[in-house]
């Protein structure tokens, strides 16, 4: 298997035509600008004269009644121009999407430690930050509900409990030959996008506002900002050229900062910028939901699963935010790729006095999957079988292919083939034998290996969000401007969609210029999320380009007096027989022929029929599959751990851009590995986040990534009719990191074969050592 190959030869489209631009490894659209430092992020935009800066005053307690804030010293501080509170909001003081449960600035009650209470607007950022610390809060402090256990004890919820009931798990559990039950704690995760939250607002004439926001959802920023300012959405224009990372953290959570900048710009009449200090970003923005999975499983002596009952207790924080979708997705993925004849998937969406948890790459899916992967390991340990064999025996297969939410999985052979191939290419069996022998020596160091399969549903589970728009303009020199509702956060969306447009017009990629996402160019877009960015925007852009092409064809056919069907677009030229001209010449001719060279395209994913209340229908257009084999070494005296080797085989359908896809797989995997190993969120007894910066919150560094890291793509066309038969790749690879967690579990299991391994996530050195201690005692 070629290591991390970036070239795949011979991709063709559905008509069997060789592809010129698509399916090739083009660099990320801004790669040149990145490496030269010339890519402009919002903080790099040359500030208009008179720009002011904001800093927030944050709540000093987690829960309580906010009686008032003495802002006299803040107002009197040097260079302060204005201080804004909830009372200064002309529209609605609300950043929540649907549930009206979270204000822009605290009012009446404190919802979490670090909640923005007021905003200082000053001549410099430093002056604003200094002034923000001078306030005196009058808060009647109450005992906060912080943890999952606290919330379960107090019975607090942000939403009603919601279950999937498939068959009768209760009676199946009672009749199963063997059962196990336990709990798994699953930690949250801070996004740590390298570019912190930022928004800049420039007031315009007649109450208009131009907002630059580092957001995955410009439309939502526009919506919230307009609501806060009390102006029509048409008066607010939001633009996003690029994000310095998003990972879900800048989906709903980016709105607040852009809206604050806009509020300040409205109040002062001057351009305003709000860039959070990293510590404030940690404290005041949502994270991946932490979960406690309470599970019971029934199985036979061969380790075949018969019944599964799991309660997914999710800490949602102080408001709903995106917890409907996040916890639903955890439920959809609670069975991963395994057939569960009888299953009850329960969810509890717990309300705590902590920052509202939000989208994070995988959107709950990883938590649901980690729980069942733990179950598979436990069943293997109980039956004394190799965990890989137990996994393979429980994969979906024809006839055993319906999920607990009732959707039939058609492509079961894809994953089976992936697992078989990876088992062979990773040399799993020989390494397993070697590791067993190593561990038999009873040394301090233990090794572990695990091969974990993955099945991830692609589509927004909120059906109406599965749509996208694009705008394509062809200019008379043949250059093409591309705009769509998707945002570029590093995932390579812009280059992929540009490839699609270039392919459609038969022009080189360089002729297509992707431009900043803008609510003025493409309105009412969905957030760039759910791994659906290129599926949706790629299709929309192709529709737009195809419209223009369809208008250009008659121009050429009239010009040459040939049949329209004879006209071909390829390699920058338009030709028919031996007649040919450049794409630009045709564009110029079309303009002279009074033909419009601008078109919008719209796309909606077909066949998404999920009805949440009835729990019926199809929530996903298709599944992405993959598998990873990880090997680790642990030190049972200290709990230190090293990942020694990782092999991944992942399904991206027919890749639009292999280099970009491999980048997503590697990056996602490493991010998932961080979530499950070193990234630990610690809240103190007062509800203050103690790990509030990279000094204390540890994401992976280069040396954490194994030197032996082999990634390959299946390159097998998607059976669903997606853009060039590709598949979404943003989120699924993150989940492949469950292989690392299982490999650590495997290494620990060698200390006491047959026992359940009491390891919780993240598997920090402390957790690993404590698990080892408990197994040894």
């Amino acid at each position: 298997m070629p290591a991390n190959d970036t070239e795949l030869a011979g991709n063709v489209d559905d008509a069997g035509r060789m592809l010129d631009v698509v399916a090739k490894s083009h660099p990320q659209d801004s790669a040149r600008l990145h490496v030269t430092g010339a890519a402009t992020y919002i903080d790099d935009i040359r500030e208009p004269a008179g720009t002011l800066h904001l800093a927030c005053g944050h709540a000093p307690v987690a829960r309580g009644e906010l009686r008032g804030v003495d802002l006299a010293a803040v107002r009197a501080a040097p260079c302060v121009v204005a201080v804004l509170t909830a009372a200064d909001v002309p529209g609605q003081n609300m950043i929540a999407q649907a549930f009206a449960d979270e204000p822009l600035l605290a009012e009446g009650r404190v919802l979490f430690h670090g909640q923005p209470v007021f905003a200082v607007v000053a001549e410099t950022r430093e002056a604003a930050r200094r002034a923000a610390r001078l306030a005196t809060f009058d808060v009647v402090q109450e005992t906060p509900i912080l943890t999952i256990d606290d919330a379960l004890a107090a019975g607090t919820r942000v939403l009603p409990d919601y279950d999937f009931v498939h068959g009768d798990a209760t009676s199946a559990l009672s009749t199963a030959p063997r059962t196990l039950s336990s709990q798994l704690m699953i930690g949250g995760q801070e996004h740590f996008y390298l570019e912190g939250m930022i928004g800049m607002a420039i007031p315009g004439e007649g109450g208009t506002m131009t907002v630059y926001s580092s957001t995955q959802d410009p439309t939502e920023v526009q919506h919230i900002t307009a609501r806060i300012l009390g102006v029509p959405e048409a008066s607010v224009m939001v633009e996003t050229r690029r994000l310095g990372g998003g990972f879900g953290g800048k989906e709903s959570q980016a709105c607040q900062w852009a809206a604050l900048a806009a509020l300040a710009a409205r109040a002062t009449g001057r351009p305003c910028k709000m860039r959070l200090d990293r510590d404030d970003d940690f404290a005041a923005t949502g994270k991946r939901h932490d979960f406690r999975a309470d599970w019971q499983v029934g199985f036979d002596d061969a380790g075949r699963l018969l019944a599964y009952d799991v309660a997914l207790n999710a800490r949602c924080g102080c408001s709903v935010d995106l917890s409907v979708g996040v916890v639903d997705r955890a439920m959809f993925h609670a069975g991963n790729c395994y057939y569960l004849p009888d299953a009850t998937i329960r969810s509890r969406r717990l309300k705590t006095d902590t920052v509202s948890n939000t989208a994070f790459r995988g959107f709950g899916g990883p938590q649901g999957i980690l729980a069942i992967e733990r179950v598979l390991d436990a069943v293997a340990h109980a039956t004394g079988r190799d965990p890989l064999d137990v996994r393979k025996d429980n994969l979906f297969s024809p006839g055993r292919d319906v999920t607990p939410y009732g959707m039939k999985v058609d492509d079961t052979s894809v994953l089976r083939d992936i697992v078989d191939e990876l088992e062979a290419t990773s040399n799993y069996r020989a390494r397993r034998a070697d590791i067993t022998a190593f561990n038999a020596e009873n040394g301090i160091l233990r090794r572990g290996i695990a091969l974990a399969p993955l099945q991830f549903g692609i589509s927004f589970t909120l059906a109406h969000m599965n749509q996208a728009g694009a705008l394509v303009n062809v200019y008379q020199d043949g250059s093409v401007l591309l705009n769509h509702g998707g945002t570029e956060m590093g995932q390579g969306l812009f280059v992929k969609v540009a490839q699609v447009v270039a392919e459609e017009f038969g022009i080189p990629l360089e002729a297509v210029r992707p431009t900043a996402t803008s609510t003025a160019m493409v309105p009412n877009a969905s957030p760039t999320a759910a791994s659906a960015g290129s599926d949706l925007n790629g299709m929309a852009a192709r529709v737009a380009a195809a419209k223009i092409k369809a208008r250009m064809v008659p121009v050429a056919s009239a010009h040459w007096d040939v049949a329209p069907e004879s006209i071909a677009f390829a390699r920058g030229r338009v030709s028919s027989g031996n007649k040919s001209m450049t794409f630009g010449e045709l564009a110029s001719l079309a303009r002279k022929s009074q033909v419009s060279l601008s078109a919008t395209g719209h796309y909606k994913t077909p066949g998404i029929t999920w009805d949440r209340d009835k729990r019926t229908g199809k929530p996903f257009y298709y599944f992405a599959f993959g598998a990873a084999c990880a090997e680790v070494k642990i030190d049972t005296l200290t709990g230190e751990m090293k990942v020694e080797r990782v092999d991944i085989l992942h399904d991206v359908g027919s890749s639009l851009n292999p280099a970009i896809d491999i980048g997503q797989i590697e990056g996602g995997f490493v991010q998932g590995m961080g979530w499950l190993t070193t990234e630990e969120l610690v809240f103190d007894a007062k509800g203050r986040l103690a790990t509030h910066a990279p000094s204390t919150y540890k994401i992976p560094v280069a040396s954490d990534v194994p030197a032996d890291f082999r990634v390959a793509l299946t390159n097998r066309p998607n059976s669903a009719d997606t853009i060039y038969r590709s598949k979404g790749v943003g989120e699924p690879p993150l989940v492949l990191a469950t292989s690392v967690f299982s490999a650590i579990t495997d290494a620990l299991h060698s200390l006491r074969p047959g026992a359940q391994v009491p390891l919780h996530a993240p598997a920090t050195p402390e957790r690993i050592l404590m698990a080892a201690e408990s197994l040894r005692s």
Binding site: A31, T36, G245, L637, T638, K642
Partner: protein, 489 residues
């Protein structure tokens, strides 16, 4: 006496006022120099997005050190050339080999970490002896976080770029840096607000006496955060690094003596030569950027209970020299630490040097730095052990820990009980190990629980004894020195 700070920027000598000299170098670059290629990701030295290169003359040659501009005061660039990502490709075209390899191998995704990574790697490309190993690249990048790529393409880009021979340093750079050099003390500003960099100890003591409330910085890897995070007001700043002789590193027949302002990077080779485990601790101390700025004296003087050098040097029997005016005194390093954040340091007194007796061949030294993440992380516990072995028995022992108390501390009871321990009788060890666990009452915090700290401390002593008794490192460590050793060094 010079009244401004001077450094070279884009071929010109820049002069900074006192106010500018007290800004962070990152703010100066972004807000005053319009050099926005350099990013802020954390403002505390941990992410590397702000990495720039300081080129300086050291021992007659130009060295290129990556530093965290976010916590470095602009004044600390005095005498250097400040190189940023913009300087690698002045025409806008990609032309530095590191940039070229990063582009070809898809080393950027969102791109926000990229300028800092490019600068870290450019420093390595310029200064690292060939061949450059993967481990060396990972060490160079320990202070550069990337949240998108998973690092694989970045590491490969580094290896590819550094496969070429080391380039010549542009001759003009050495000439310009030499021309910039002077012997003057710096005092920019006035009584109320200044940036001062004395040249002689006497001048330093004068300043300290006159301005007892001034913020004294050496590398500012601790103090920088007081400015960017705690937002302390520090109108008066005294920078130690220009004081002549205060950074001298000397080796006599019996001791290694390190001047307080020697950077951890500059002291690494000599300190590391004392014991492989000390070299390993230093390899994992902060990051390349942090070690380039952080000083040995600062690591002692800041009185942190979790500083890495103190426990190691205590175990090695180091002594500390303090000075104020003409008065000098020397004390065992462990005596300097009195209580949490309280040291035996008198007003106006500075840490001048630290002296480490050269270990004799019979000495066995072990140190273990325990962290949540292997690289670039503050220790939860650091255990350091120095044993003399007589036959198969322990003849003397010094055991010191960081992270187990409010100060770096010796385990004196355990040390006593170790005497005479039979290395061939591991079944007799447990009571001794329990004794160690009972000797400290560590705290629980976000790095580790008290329970874990106690258990690990006990286990580290166990591990040290196993190793000294003869267990091969490959059976006791998941990362051994062999793996960590840099090719080319």
């Amino acid at each position: 006496m010079r009244s401004s700070v001077r450094f070279i920027r884009r071929g010109r000598i820049v002069e900074l006022s006192a106010a500018e000299a007290r800004m962070t170098l990152l703010d100066w670059l972004r807000l005053r120099d319009a050099a926005v290629g350099t990013k802020e990701g954390c403002a505390e030295g941990d992410c590397g997005a702000c990495t720039v290169i300081l080129a300086r003359m050291k021992q007659g040659r130009v060295v290129h050190e990556p530093v965290n501009a976010c916590i470095l005061l602009a004044g600390q660039a005095d005498g250097a050339e400040v190189l940023t990502v913009e300087d690698l490709s002045p025409t806008g075209a990609v032309h530095h080999p590191v940039q070229d390899a990063m582009l070809r191998l898809h080393g950027s995704q969102c791109g926000f970490c990229t300028p800092g990574i490019v600068m870290s790697l450019a420093a390595m490309h310029q200064d690292a002896p060939r061949p450059v190993s993967r481990q060396a690249v990972c060490d160079q990048l320990a202070g550069n976080l990337c949240r998108c790529t998973g690092y694989r393409p970045i590491v490969e880009a580094a290896l590819e770029a550094c496969a070429a021979p080391q380039p010549e340093v542009p001759a003009a750079r050495g000439v310009a840096l030499t021309a910039l050099r002077d012997e003057a003390a710096i005092f920019a500003g006035n009584d109320a607000a200044f940036f001062a960099a004395p040249r002689r100890e006497a001048e330093l003591f004068d300043l300290l006496a006159r301005y007892p409330d001034a913020l004294v910085v050496a590398g500012a890897t601790d103090a920088g955060l007081w400015l960017t995070k705690a937002l302390i007001a520090a109108p008066r700043v005294i920078w130690l690094a220009r004081v002549e002789g205060l950074d001298r590193i000397e080796r006599t027949r019996t001791a290694l003596s390190i001047g307080a302002t020697a950077t951890v990077a500059d002291a690494a080779r000599e300190l590391g030569s004392l014991a492989p485990d000390l070299a390993e601790v230093i390899r994992r101390f902060g990051s390349t950027q942090v070690r380039a700025s952080a000083t040995v004296g600062g690591n002692i003087a800041n009185a942190s209970p979790i500083g890495d050098l103190a426990p190691c040097l205590i175990a090695l029997g180091a002594t500390l020299e303090l000075a104020a005016g003409n008065a000098t005194r020397t004390l065992p390093l462990e005596d300097f630490f009195v209580a949490y954040k309280k040291q035996d340091r008198r007003p106006g007194e500075i840490v001048r040097r630290i002296s480490v007796p050269l270990p004799d061949v019979a000495m066995q030294f072990r140190a273990f730095k325990i962290t949540k993440r292997m690289d670039e992380d503050i220790s939860a516990v650091l255990g350091a052990f120095a044993f003399q072995v007589d036959g198969r028995r322990i003849a003397s022992a010094r055991v010191a820990f960081g992270g187990m108390a409010g100060i770096p501390a010796r385990a004196r009871t355990t040390e006593q009980r170790l005497l005479g321990l039979d290395l061939d009788a591991p079944p007799t060890w447990p009571p001794l190990l329990d004794c160690l666990a009972a000797e400290f009452k560590p705290l629980s915090d976000h790095r580790a629980s008290a329970e874990y700290r106690s258990l690990v401390a006990r286990n580290l002593l166990h591990k040290a004894l196993l190793e000294i008794a003869g267990a091969p490192l490959s059976s006791t460590r998941i990362v051994t020195h062999v793996e960590a050793a840099h090719a080319g060094e």
